[in-house]
Symmetry: C2
Subunit: 221 residues, 2 copies
């Protein structure tokens, strides 16, 4: 069953959502008030419609009500973002995700019934800062406030050692869930597997334990 | 050894980087050309300086050269972003990360020597679209073009079964690396562990295999 989405606002964030939803085989109606955006998405989205989303009659005439999920990706015009969300809610849209510009904006959006509120720039800033601090960490997934899965580049201190030899689990309380070696992913590596040059270790554990391990890895590089 | 960073441009993205770097214990000089931004970050950053980064004499007088890493988070003014990057490079800054607005912008930045170019809105759009498509998937980490680690909400079809009983590894070729249960993270769950209501499964595998598993999980919910 193909899901049907509406994306309102085709800036970098909204535009990227349209592309990815289409790539995943979804139906997407893309809406923007500027013609150049509509031209840009005419061949990408299932439908591209030039409309001002703060005009309720327009929203109704497009049959927005019948879509599964509407994403409001309007940026600088906070008033338009709030008004659009309010009307989508009144029309009876089942699921509404909205991009917020700040905490105050988020508060208003939640009060009027937005199901999900996202802060793309803020979240990505956090992510990138995290990756920047330690050069060995490539990417990560936060499992909870205290646990993460982290990609760590193996350095000279680790290369040539076996997993059991490094005694990582006992020494740091973390586990290597996989090793990225060139184009391969080695899931659940054996304790006797030797770490090679350019390996990327995918480790899981408490943030404090992972940090301790990162420090150790960095120190000696 | 405390690392020293400069962040130029205190919009949502740049501002979030400043906050996160400070939280991680780093030294951060925050620069913006608008006074209200400087007021906002005066008590957050190590130093907050009002300056136009396209003015080379200003950059030199601030001793930018001696910092470990400069992040250029200027948005709409692409010309200022490019000019700033060019001068940072000429001054001899070791590491420069720049936010790009589009592919053309990225191309120019790389040509003039930016070490890392990021597209926060685009990347987060992709991420959020991915999470939106399947309601059961909460978050994910791409390990390669073909492999990921994904957080999947357990549904009625899974609850009450043991991992060995579901035969997930043989049936789908994926592994459960952890289970998120309320505030706990159970790393490397036992084959005989029973999946409980509201469990979140952290699985690793090929995207095609994970998709197959997701479909199965969703179908029957
Ligand atoms: N009332 C409206 N109806 C339809 N589209 C709108 C409306 N208001 C704004 N938009 C569109 O929303 C898009 C995103 O807005 P804007 O460029 O302000 O956001 P942004 O946060 O700077 O974007 P980015 O995702 O690139 O960071 C623009 O293309 C704009 O034309
Ligand atoms: N030449 C410059 N020197 C210093 N700061 C600058 C310069 N040009 C722009 N800035 C600052 O960069 C910040 C970010 O720019 P802008 O708001 O255009 O980006 P944006 O991409 O919309 O931001 P966001 O991260 O919120 O999406 C602004 O606070 C702006 O004042
Ligand atoms: Ca903007
Ligand atoms: Ca933006
Ligand atoms: Ca954390
Ligand atoms: Ca992928």
């Amino acid at each position: 069953m193909k899901k049907e989405f509406v994306v309102i606002g085709l800036g970098r964030f909204g535009g990227s959502i349209v592309r990815e939803l289409i790539e995943q085989g979804m139906d997407v109606m893309a809406i923007d008030k500027f013609e150049d955006k509509i031209d840009q998405f005419a061949n990408i989205a299932t439908h591209a419609v030039m409309a001002d989303s703060t005009d309720e009659s327009v929203l109704r005439s497009l049959g927005i009500r019948n879509f599964d999920h509407v994403i409001v990706a309007i940026g600088d015009d906070i008033q338009a973002s709030i008004l659009t969300t309010l009307m989508l809610k009144e029309i009876g849209v089942k699921k509404i995700t909205v991009k917020a510009q700040n905490d105050y904006h988020e508060k208003v959006l939640r009060r009027i019934g937005a199901d999900k509120v996202v802060h793309p720039e803020r979240d990505m800033g956090k992510r990138i800062a995290h990756n920047i601090v330690s050069n060995n960490v490539l990417d990560y997934l936060e499992l909870s406030d205290e646990h993460s899965i982290v990609e760590i580049v193996a350095n000279d201190h680790l290369i040539g050692n076996t997993i059991i030899g490094l005694d990582i689990r006992a020494q740091y309380g973390i586990n290597i869930v996989a090793i990225k070696r060139k184009d391969d992913i080695i899931v659940s590596p054996q304790a006797t597997d030797e770490i090679q040059k350019e390996d990327i270790l995918i480790v899981i554990g408490a943030d404090t334990d992972i940090n301790r391990f990162e420090k150790k890895v960095m120190q000696s590089s």
